[in-house]
Symmetry: C2
Subunit: 417 residues, 2 copies
């Protein structure tokens, strides 16, 4: 017997027919003798509908009331799945965020889960009742409804799994696992059987958006074994404990002799900003990034070019495209303090990253990357590295070419069928 958390996204909850197949899949886990908690998203499109209402009511809506409105989406699906499970002969009940409760801080619309009380939940599960828990929601100390921000249901699932010490947290998604790269770009991309939390964090944050980044971070912190599975596999598919999804685990569980590089990610949602003729003196760079930090804009890759002869330099960095306008505004307002010449930007860039825990103990990963791209005439505009990742910024038009040649260069291509 295992204790498992199953999480289903909006596509799986879009309509009663699909909710019924979710119920059938949950039933199989129950009949296999498992204790099961299910975390559900709202029906596909429902959260957008509710957010739309709030925006229409006021562009400056109160996040406390926004949370009351949007939390209703998951409340609805949790009740419906409980009904569908009962109709399938499975004992089940819903537990809303305030009922468990799932305590969170009071950062409405982007709250963070604190503790989850589990006494009543575990007693109910031990009595053979499936717990159906709406994802995305919690309750503040003040007793107000909170939500975790978009995609928060993954985080709810991992948090519940950690709280009840689940053996496994199965995340059913639109994809059937994590691939070495985007299969739409590289048809010979391979599904990974296992990936470490750290790699998943790098892959997710640079574009392979299978799981919400926060949920992976939480899983790593709490050491929750997370499995990504396809929600579109038929009811006669093998059980989840044998399904060929991707397991996200600690590094210790990964074969040390595995490949150097786990995957290649790409991200076109970055914009490049360059400030020219910035004074080459102490404090100059701080003057640039302080106003951006104050505007809560995440700056990613940063390059300070070699100083010009006349004592000034160019500074280039990237920001999320969505924050470009606000970034330019903040920089222009700080123009005098920074003292730059020109402010130029380019949204036609892409960030390509090679990710793998294996590179920790191997030199030459970055060098392979630069050589491979150079051989195809792809110009590198910026570079950044972490312990398990090397990223480069290139022209957007060369994204697919870069991903393909790197996938081959690092030996990731699947055998030809």
């Amino acid at each position: 017997m295992a204790r498992i958390v199953m999480k289903f996204g909006g596509t799986s909850m879009a309509g009663i027919e699909r909710i019924r197949s979710v119920a059938a899949r949950v039933k199989r886990e129950v009949e296999a003798g498992n204790e099961v908690a299910v975390v559900v998203s709202a029906m596909a499109g429902e959260t957008d509908r509710l957010v739309g209402f709030c925006r229409e009511a006021s562009s400056l809506y109160d996040p406390k009331e926004y949370d009351v409105v949007v939390a209703a989406g998951e409340q609805i699906t949790s009740g419906l799945l409980a009904i569908a499970l009962q109709a399938a002969g499975v004992k089940a009940r819903s537990w809303l965020g305030w009922q468990l409760p799932i305590h969170s801080d009071d950062a409405h619309a982007k709250a963070r889960i604190g503790t989850i009380e589990t006494d009543a939940l575990l007693a109910s599960m031990a009595a053979g009742e499936v717990a159906v828990i709406p994802g995305f929601q919690g309750v503040s100390d003040e007793g107000r409804v909170t939500t975790l921000g978009r995609g928060g249901s993954d985080t709810s699932a991992v948090a519940v799994a950690a709280a009840i010490k689940a053996d496994r947290c199965d995340i059913y998604t639109d994809v059937d696992g994590v691939y070495t790269t985007d299969p739409r770009i590289v048809p010979r991309a391979r599904k990974l059987a296992k990936v470490t939390y750290e790699e998943m964090l790098e892959l997710a944050s640079v574009g392979a958006k299978v799981l919400q980044t926060r949920s992976v971070g939480l899983a790593m912190k709490e050491n929750v074994r997370v499995q990504v599975l396809s929600s579109f596999t038929g009811e006669d598919a093998p059980m989840a404990d044998t399904l060929p999804g991707t397991m996200i685990v600690a590094e210790e569980e990964i074969d040390v002799e595995r490949q150097l590089i786990t995957g290649i990610a790409h991200d076109k949602n970055e914009a490049k900003i360059t400030l020219t003729s910035v004074p080459d003196k102490p404090g100059a760079v701080a003057a640039i990034f302080e106003p951006l930090a104050a505007a809560n804009i995440n700056v990613d890759m940063i390059i300070q070019n070699i100083a010009h002869n006349h004592g000034s330099t160019d500074v280039t960095f990237t920001v999320p495209s969505a924050d470009l306008a606000r970034s330019l505004e903040a920089l222009n307002q700080a123009r005098e303090a920074i003292g730059f010449g020109e402010l130029v930007h380019d949204t036609r860039v892409a960030k390509i990253s090679v990710v793998g825990v294996g590179m920790r103990s191997h030199a030459g990963v970055a060098s392979t990357m630069f050589t491979t791209l150079g051989a195809r005439g792809i110009n590198i505009q910026a570079i950044s590295t972490s312990e398990i990742k090397v990223s480069v910024l290139i022209h957007e038009d060369e994204t697919e070419l870069a991903v393909r040649v790197l996938h081959t260069a690092y030996g990731l291509d699947a055998e030809a069928a």
Copy 2:
């Protein structure tokens, strides 16, 4: 300054534009110096959508989970109205059923409100914050979401008004008040300025469905002054304390010299059942109504005809049309115990009622009714009376004629324009 409860139905909450005009109307009451609590229904059509999901998930859905699903409709509108009020510059916050809390029994899907805790609510209102409360919902002692049954938002409004000792409970509806009869049948029907709780109960339960019956009973018990107003009057309409709606009040507030009869109601949703050749002996009638009571069917008008020569009698009564099939089944199953001859039924009947507290002290009301109908050749199939009501059962085709002639006979017609 007054403390008032305002209640808005689903049509008033159907879309952000309408919610904004509700907010504008609430704002006027606040600016007039009133403390305001608003009770809201779900958006028109939303409860049907949610109930439809539950039914599709299982015809035998768990009412506990049904309540979780359908309560979401009012949760959504309460958050949206709070946002719209804030956007209009009015301090406001939502209070969900479990937050106040509104305690109810655990009769899920048809719960009854017990006590409502008001300390936090009154403190918030005293601080100038409009309280927005989702109607229709409560919380059981077990901490589960409950709902009050369809139309329950009226009851929520009255219960909140009683709990906070409101000076007035304004119910905004699709009609602009209570009329002497259905204006679609009698164009010269008059709007009543005041009506007693008792009269409203009789008028509502026999067809003038302006307010949910339970809410009127509760208002009577708690002595809440309820005002029925049109939600379609423009924002420049006079304030609610001078608006020409209908005030529902205790009998003491009604002019004793007022008219004998307050209104004429009709109801086509009854079916007549006759059992022939029932033994004319003690216990025979009990044998008929016991199985119906066991099936939870409300029997209304009952007539036991004169005994036949051979020691048997016919028994006629009415039941709601919706319960006819179940009634016939229950009676057929009890056929041996009752020992009737034939079981005949007729759905082509209508119940016409004249209602008025004035008839308590006046004889002749029933007699006027019978004479008036007889003069137009309308056959009376059954009669029932209460202290403030006389009802007759007639052929359905004669409904409009009967209502019109009675309206004139009791002097209810408005002056010709």
